[in-house]
């Protein structure tokens, strides 16, 4: 009986954690987002007023403000596009790699897996900073290009959206490879041989057999990359320039520079809803589809 109770607490403790550090803060953010802003500390009014009897002091002004200014929506759209492009490149690079790892012999496989994970052993910040050094005007890449005579003057490789995409793809690649590997590992290689035996060449075999059976891994890896990239702050901040503004940076500025807490909260809350709702709907539809198709 005691053990049963312990089991229950043990299993459900992560949920308590989630409630404590995700749902409660989320509720606080929502509360701030519907508060009226003012100068002061904290820079918003209480939502329950008791001066002249009980009064609820809420407003949707902050949401109206955010959605009426393209500055905010545009940054969110930029972040979505960035996440889409990064996920696409992670998939493009990660899929063949994961497939190769999953189908190689055990010794080579373990070495390759360790190589994928090794970057995690050093600080994320350091790795992004290293890219800054590589890409800067007198950085190693430009030095090589100049010495080879490929360019006559240093290229502006840093502080633009391409540097951001590169940094993100580099950082998030393992998050794509590992779940993909997890699914491809279980792949019955006889299926590929069977497809070839039945007359399909390599390309057709890929699209008719390998790809459809890899969908769960592709979905898992893509979500793992896509969702955090939308809110990514550090990489655009370090490698990006003023050519494109991203959601994470705008949020930071609204909060810490403009000290518009209600506006920033409204922005954060809208972002979560816009991102989470379609993904939840997608997950429901997808689980129905995969149940039907027994993948």
């Amino acid at each position: 009986m005691k053990n049963k109770l312990f089991e229950k607490y043990f299993v459900f403790s992560p949920y308590f954690w989630l409630v404590l550090f995700f749902f409660i803060p989320l509720a606080i953010i929502f509360k701030i987002s519907i508060s009226v802003s003012e100068w002061g500390m904290p820079p918003y009014q209480d939502i329950f007023l008791f001066d002249n009897g009980f009064k609820i002091n809420t407003t949707f002004e902050n949401y109206v403000y955010i959605f009426s200014d393209y500055y905010y929506i545009g940054s969110f759209v930029n972040s979505l596009i960035l996440a889409l492009i990064s996920t696409f490149f992670c998939l493009l690079i990660g899929f063949p790699l994961a497939f190769y790892i999953a189908t190689s012999n055990i010794r080579l496989r373990n070495i390759l897996l360790v190589l994928v994970v090794i970057p995690f052993w050093s600080s994320f910040l350091l790795r992004v900073y290293a890219w800054k050094i590589i890409l800067q005007n007198n950085g190693i890449l430009n030095v090589i290009l100049l010495n080879l005579g490929i360019t006559s003057e240093p290229l502006q490789l840093l502080y633009n959206q391409y540097a951001v995409i590169m940094g993100i793809v580099y950082t998030y690649l393992p998050l794509m490879i590992l779940p993909l590997y997890g699914y491809l590992n279980k792949f019955d290689l006889n299926l590929i041989e069977a497809s070839k035996d039945l007359g399909l060449n390599r390309i057709k075999t890929f699209f008719k057999v390998i790809l459809p059976l890899s969908v769960p891994g592709i979905v898992a890896g893509s979500l793992l990359v896509f969702i955090p990239v939308v809110g990514e702050f550090i990489i655009p901040e370090m490698l990006g320039g003023s050519d494109r503004l991203y959601y994470g940076k705008i949020l930071w500025e609204e909060f810490f520079v403009n000290r518009n807490w209600p506006g920033a909260s409204a922005l954060a809350f809208s972002g979560i809803i816009i991102l989470v709702l379609p993904i939840v709907i997608f997950q429901i539809l997808y689980s129905r589809w995969s149940q039907k198709n027994e993948i």
Binding site: D188, E193, A194, D197, L200, N293
Partner: protein, 355 residues
Amino acid sequence: MDNNFLVIENISKSFGDNKVLENINLNISKSEFFGLLGSSGSGKTTLLRILGGFEKPDTGRVILDGTDITNLEPFKRPLNYMFQSYALFPHLNVFNNLAFGIKENFTQKEIEINVRNIAKLLSIEHLLNRRIKQLSGGEQQRVALGRCLIKKPKLLLLDEPLAALDKKLRSKTQLELTTLQKKLKITFVFVTHDQEEAMSLSDRMAIMKNGLILECSSPEEIYENPKSLYTANFIGIANIIEIYKKDENFYSDDLGINFKLNKELKNTKTNILLRPEKIKIQSINNLNTSSFNSFSGEILEKSYLGSFTRYEIKIKNMIISVLDQNFNSNSNYNFPKGEKVICSWESESIKVLED
């Protein structure tokens, strides 16, 4: 009959230092049901995979119906391969699994007709809309077979076609497979480690060991006249007795008796094979005994198998297996354990194994 429909010529294959196949030569006729029998590691599956195009041989050629297919990709070979695991596509239903190989070159209507025909042939019409996971092992085997046969291959390769089925289903499917093969007249080459399966399915079979073909002949010939000690032991039950020349006759130290052979021997010492069903077992009271080709021994073990009784009979240093057919239903006919009996055989039943 065209003996050169499938020609396997000097095929060798190594994986690293491991020689898997050494100089394999085989000729297989059109419409033949050919078995490759061997224990695991004998190289039989590698040979089948070379025929399927999944492995490239180090040396040698494979010629199918006059065309050299050695370097053709699997998807360009006019043959099909049935995998031991069946390798059915889990994301497709039975219909689409069957249609998988013909979708490219056929119209929707032709596909429909072809799938229905093959499903009818294999009695799986009622399963067409099922998912693969909803099928039993036997049904999966039929779908795998149908998926190959729908392509009308010149040659069908089968890797352990019955290994995944339970025993009862296996004997039923064995019969169906031979009937189907004779009806379609497609050349079948299959691999198995099960000697009974090889005997019952094959028109001819090859015994493989350590990358070599030891013998290639009809099941009857291999059972009755095996050329090597290995084959004699591998196929069926074998009593192997060492004999040597002594005076006019041959003598076995293990049994302590004389043998009379109906042919001359090259060597003075050799192994002979005596199949257990060739030995006649009689009561000790029977006076019809001779000094040659017979012995008296004691029944050590006895197992009643229905149509046969198998006795293990001890004589001197050896235990000889005897299969005795149960002619009448009189239970007294069986000899009890511990009884002394006389065993005898014809000279013609002794097979000399000259390695």
